[in-house]
Amino acid sequence: MFEAVAFYLFAFLTIAMFFITVTTSHALYALTALAAGMIFISAFFFILGADFLGAIQIIVYTGAVMALYAFGMMFFDTTRELKEKQGNKFIVTGLATLAAILVVVIFAAPMVSENIVAFYPAIDGVGNTQQVGLVLFTKYLIPFELAAVMLLVAMIAGIVLAGKKMDLSITLMNDAEIEEEKNKKVLS
């Protein structure tokens, strides 16, 4: 009963928030609505018993990703209304709906045939976080470490792309060149 009420409430809220995100012409409204939708999605994870995933959703999405977007928006001129040239809305909406139905058919086809077997069944008597830890650090250790390397690469890429004068290396330059660069900066 309460599960149904919570599900429909959060489903409505999430759909409304994401609808605002894709339709509004104001980037700040889109960002705020997206952050709210992310928090509402974590509610589904808590209903489904995936507590750790819900906490990660809040921390990573609304904590890190949204902060990064808000930080990036400072670089862009987002105070004015976005002017977007619109094509035929009906064709786009129809195409998107068709594509989404196709994706669901692909997802649902193996489930309808009832041949899904639980590879790593949930263990009784321990919490969700402990289960996640057991599976993540045994069966999925290599993907976990690859994800860590990928995040490191992404961090370096973000710093190099967004930083200033990243094509210069102070350790590889001699003193005269460094002085020259300093003078350039004063002049410009």
Binding site: A4, F7, T14, I15, F18, F19, T21, V22, A27, A30, M38, I41, F44, F45, L48, A50, F52, L53, I56, Q57, V60, Y61, V65, L68, Y69, G72, F75, F76, L82, E84, K85, K89, V92, L95, A96, T97, A100, I101, V103, V104, F107, M111, A118, Y120, P121, Q131, V132, V135, L136, K139, Y140, P143, A147, A154, A157, G158, I159, V160, L161, A162
Partner: protein, 102 residues
Amino acid sequence: MMEIGLNHYLVLSTILFAIGLVGVMRRKNLLLLFFATEILLNAVNIAFAAISHYYGDLTGQMFAFFVIAIAASEVAVGLGLLIVWYKRHGSIDLDALTTMKG
């Protein structure tokens, strides 16, 4: 009706995925295109968590974690590229990006 099953979550995931897909196709501003991509990834995450719960298998949750990690690194690199593009051209409009148009 009162019992929430796997199909409810899959339908919700489909609706969110469709919203995200409409956003990807309609948007012309690159920053808002990124927002729509986040919606797509979140819709898939809901489906993963629901299947994980209803089949008693933790693999779905594991995949959701990796999807979140990929989304985080995508944002870091994509936003860096977007800033470089904005510094160079002063606009992040998708129509202005078609410099190789014949």
